[in-house]
Symmetry: C2
Subunit: 206 residues, 2 copies
């Protein structure tokens, strides 16, 4: 059996552009990651596809999964559930494949507890003006909701300290390149590299 | 004043090719590192230049530096001293410049104690046959010395676990590219990134 894959978690404050960066990574020719599709109870936005952007489920269905221990992480955010079903992630990792999660900050901290060997990358805005611009620019929320989202986002930036790496999302392709560089480098982290290397050297090494 | 530079330490077992990889990095056009030249009491090899490959000094001079607390690290290896003078390294780091050390494994562990925020990269052979081939290939030592060096090298590989990253030196340019990728990624480590980022966001962030 091959060695277990790497769990890569991309997170960051609401509105920072996690989804855009994740999509750009997966659209590149050399992409070999397996994307774990999240489950949510929020309503589908224009252009979204069930089973591709999210698994869109009812509140009752989501809560049943929680009760059955079927969620790697989940969070309630602006009155909706978001979460990652555990089954697919574990299957891929066991097959030695790398799994990529793009999730909210609360969920990421739950994953950190369950999978301390994961790679945790925090996507962060160049500055707060830019973040407000992006949150407003989505055009789906009124002013009070934008203010609420902004306050929450600033709190979320504080959580950066619990991550391994932070990447500023100034330009999507810049951010994509940095995330890919981090993932490449992380494969040579001694804690990931040493078990296989010892096997390779065999009995020569104690 | 600018932020303190990053101390990058490349180490690995005797004969693995640290010097070749380091030289290749410094010969590349985009190199911005400051190389800290080591001090040694071993005799100059053919083609080596004093003040470029090493500072070649007498045993008495080296021991005087040790007594004066002037060494960041030093080690005695095959009856000779090797070490890094402290002064230049600190000056460069204080100016916000990145300093690159290529040193023996014992010395690297002394640096780790004094500079826990340094970046420690371990260069390692593809396998032990290849390492023996390289140690022999140098052509300067007899069989007994080669055996002694081999035994020491195998012990030194065990020290990999004290490093941040490990890079296999299969091909020099491969190893160079990996070392450079690691250094790039390491700039976005949260512990290095966060202090500056907080300053940038200013009062908005608590």
């Amino acid at each position: 059996m091959s060695k277990r894959g790497m769990l890569i978690v991309l997170s960051g404050p609401s509105g920072v552009g996690k989804g855009t960066v994740r999509k750009a990574i997966f659209e590149q020719d050399d992409n070999k990651f397996h994307y774990s599709i999240s489950m949510t109870t929020r309503s589908m936005r224009k252009g979204e596809v069930d089973g591709k952007d999210y698994y869109f489920v009812s509140k009752a269905e989501f809560e049943k999964e929680i009760r059955n221990g079927g969620m790697l992480e989940y969070a309630q955010y602006v009155d909706n559930y978001y979460g990652t079903p555990l089954k697919y992630v574990n299957e891929m990792l066991d097959q030695g494949k790398d799994v990529f999660l793009e999730i909210e900050v609360n969920g990421a901290m739950q994953v950190r507890e369950k999978c301390p060997d994961g790679l945790f990358i925090f996507l962060t805005p160049p500055d707060l003006m830019e973040l407000r611009h992006r949150i407003s620019g989505r055009g789906t929320d009124d002013l009070a909701t934008i203010d609420k989202r902004m306050a929450k986002a600033v709190d979320e930036i504080e959580m950066m300290q619990n991550y391994d790496y932070a990447v500023v999302n100034d330009e999507v392709l810049n951010a994509v390149e940095k995330v890919k560089t981090i993932i490449r480098a992380e494969r040579w982290r001694v804690k990931r590299f040493l078990p296989d290397y010892k096997k390779r050297l065999g009995d020569d090494l104690k």
